[in-house]
Symmetry: C2
Subunit: 236 residues, 2 copies
């Protein structure tokens, strides 16, 4: 397949973009990558390709735009079916992977983003408590899904590994700036070891941003959030 047949619109800071990139790496798909600077403006191609949400990632394959990170990962799994499978083959295992992936977007991501945009210490503390709480069932899920193997997906990285693992860059930033250990030996020993294995996987390691660089970017988010709120108020 010609490289130009596959294009990904992304942003280096986005965990959701990382999901698509890990999936493309697993399947050894050669693709063109276009970086979007969403804090400043959005490209014409992004606005045209994802007119509903206007968000990255967008995978453009044979001129067809595919949006929403977990949908993109499933699409990649279905199209490049000769590569290693990303979703498990058993329907119940597939349903379980989908369930916990939705759980992550529903219970982990909102407090994570709340922490990063928080302007007050109290809001940060509340977000940390919610993040910690969301990790407890996930630690338990690891035992059930991995069945004693290295990853949620078994011997290799799978759908749920990608769904949660994409957040490890930001998780480390939060641990660093918050002076906390979200993943630790006491409450999440399996996830702690899993995170090490995940981060050193060949399909992943080049994609996890440097913690200091990401933390530097993160510093701008509370101010950006404030400006966005002001803009929304002005438009109302």
């Amino acid at each position: 397949m010609a490289k130009s047949d596959v294009k990904l619109l992304g942003a280096w800071t986005s965990p959701f973009v990382m999901r698509a990139r890990i999936a493309l790496n697993i399947k050894s798909v050669d693709y063109e990558y276009q970086e979007e600077n969403w804090l400043v403006s959005k490209s014409e191609l992004l606005l045209k390709s994802n007119p509903i949400h206007k968000k990255v990632p967008v995978l453009i394959h044979a001129d067809n735009p595919i949006c929403e990170s977990l949908i993109i990962v499933q699409y990649i799994d279905e199209v490049w079916s000769s590569g290693p499978s990303i979703l498990p083959s058993d329907p119940y295992d597939r349903a379980t992977s989908r369930f916990w992936s939705a759980y992550i977007d529903d219970k982990w991501f909102p407090p994570m983003i709340a922490f990063l945009f928080a302007q007050e210490e109290d809001a940060k503390k509340a977000a940390i408590a919610q993040m910690e709480e969301s990790l407890v069932p996930l630690e338990e899920a690891f035992g059930k899904c991995s069945k004693g193997k290295a990853f949620f997906g078994g011997d290799r990285i799978g759908f749920l590994d990608i769904a949660f693992g994409c957040f490890l860059g930001w998780l480390r930033v939060i641990e660093k700036v918050g002076g906390i250990e979200l993943l630790n030996e006491t409450k999440t020993p399996s996830l702690l070891k899993w995170a090490e294995r995940f981060s050193s996987d060949t399909a992943v390691k080049e994609l996890i941003p440097d913690t200091d660089k990401l933390a530097e970017f993160g510093k701008a988010l509370p101010e950006f959030g404030k400006a966005l709120q002001a803009k929304m108020r002005a438009n109302n």
Copy 2:
């Protein structure tokens, strides 16, 4: 397969439960149905089967609980693969079906539920405006997905038909109590005709609740919401 191998925990008022039931009908799966009265209390089986969200629907198949309506529909499609397909076979069409199904849960459902729980006229008006707005892209999507055929899924009801069609019962209640036409000849002519076809399909028609009965149930929701808010405040 013995009937007792498949059990569905549901509630007759829930659009999400209807998704699972339509999928089971399409695949001609015989199943045991257990009605949950979630306004009053939740059964032990529900709490045990869906400890994370404690919500219906839960499909229990060979003692395995499967939660979250769209995940259940995909599970049914994958397990009973000899019946008519629910998701399209083409990966891009599958991605498109998943995208619009997520859109419905994201953009249509929140204002719908806001309307039903609203205590003030202003909140109802705002919710109606949001519901109307959410239908415009969906009308356009119908043209692209159906490719001139009767349903989003083509000649038969598919994933996206189920994802949106399950809301038609409540949509009619809102039209009736609000004195409005959410689906109409002017803005959503294709969806208007599609809704008629969907509601009279053999896999669906027995499942759409009677509008007056549903409206009667709906009357209790604002008070229920108020009581719930008071309870949450008391617990904080």
